[in-house]
């Protein structure tokens, strides 16, 4: 049940920045979530509607940008992704020496305010 905790954190950040920019209302939130960072499901939207009642975020729409995990093989330099959601050695040369290029993101990128 960490979606509730995460939703509260999202609301706190959005409201803080909204108030700094004298927003009357926040209409949209753009979130970036890497495939390796955490599991966030649709219940975020459900909690969101509950906890933002009577705040400047009430009615705001959440937009999730999911960023796929990308690995770079340290042996052959090629980039590759998870296979069916699972980690795999380099599909080109089978090396397991790799670095994570992207997929750990988990941030609030921007908001639209009025």
């Amino acid at each position: 049940m960490h979606e509730l905790a995460i939703t509260e954190q999202i609301a706190e950040i959005a409201i803080r920045h909204g108030e700094q920019h004298q927003a009357q209302k926040i209409t949209d939130l753009y979130l970036v979530i890497g495939e390796l960072s955490t599991v966030v499901d649709d219940s975020v939207q459900f909690y969101w509607d509950l906890i933002t009642r009577d705040t400047i975020c009430e009615g705001a729409e959440l937009h999730f940008k999911r960023v796929p995990a990308i690995f770079r093989c340290q042996e052959c330099g090629k980039e590759y992704r998870l296979a069916d959601g699972e980690l795999q050695p380099c599909p080109f040369c089978q090396s397991s020496r790799m670095e994570i290029v992207q997929g750990k993101e988990f941030h609030l990128d921007s908001i639209i305010v009025e």
């Binding site: 960490h2 950040i13 927003a23 960072s37 921007s110 908001i111 639209i112």
Partner: protein, 221 residues
């Protein structure tokens, strides 16, 4: 007029900030702290018991146990010689920095040398909520299967040590250690790992040696 406000702030920023406060507070009090994470039943409490049995003669140790409900684990830690505080998370699948802070309030911190934190049994959520502990340790166990690094990559990425518990069960379970360690190496190259059995005591020496080295290292820096 609608306007765009660029933010780019980590969703965990509030928790990370509190974790930083916990870290400063623990260091100031001279404690070395370890966050133990694992799936349910991997052996967190058993390992804490083993660790207490070895270290309580030399160190004063506090244990904080996070569970959704009950105080069974804190009672076990207290029985094994720690001053124990139970955190009931009320349904949350992890301890967060705020919960740890409240638990620290219940301890006279300068009295202790070591703090062992048992996180809630879960292989997904504790990875993203930092607590501010000096070390984060993951306990895998043989019956969980050798594919866990492949399925729960976030958990394996940022830990400082890995224990592989219940190695006494290796003869009975199809667990391909090479396959398991290959996954670990992909996510966290150079991660130090300790195959152990809390049942037979095998491998516990190496874990205790490492832990004592870390404690001594933290005193000199």
């Amino acid at each position: 007029m609608p306007r765009k406000v660029t933010i780019v702030e980590s969703i965990h920023s509030a928790n990370d900030q509190l974790a930083g406060e916990n870290s400063r507070r623990l260091r100031k009090a001279g404690l070395f702290s370890v966050n133990m994470m694992a799936s349910p039943g991997a052996g967190k409490t058993s390992l804490i018991e083993k660790t207490l049995a070895r270290l309580t003669p030399h160190y004063s140790i506090a244990a904080i146990d996070g569970d959704v409900a009950t105080s069974i684990d804190a009672d076990r830690a207290a029985e094994a010689g720690a001053i124990a505080v139970q955190i009931n998370t009320g349904g949350q699948c992890h301890i967060d920095a705020h919960m740890l802070r409240n638990a620290l309030d219940e301890l006279d911190l300068p009295e202790f040398d070591i703090l062992l934190v048992e996180n809630v049994g879960n292989l997904i959520c504790p990875a993203s909520f930092k607590l501010g502990t000096d070390r984060n340790v993951l306990i895998a166990s043989i019956p969980e299967g050798d594919d866990k690094p492949y399925k729960y990559p976030a958990m394996y990425q940022d830990v400082d040590a890995l224990l592989i518990n219940k190695i006494d069960l290796l003869p009975y379970i199809d667990f391909d250690m090479d396959y398991f360690l290959q996954g670990v190496k992909m996510l966290n190259p150079g991660l130090v790992s300790f195959p152990v059995s809390c049942k037979t005591g095998e491998g516990i020496d190496a874990w205790i040696d490492w832990l004592e080295d870390q404690i001594k290292g933290s005193k000199t820096t």
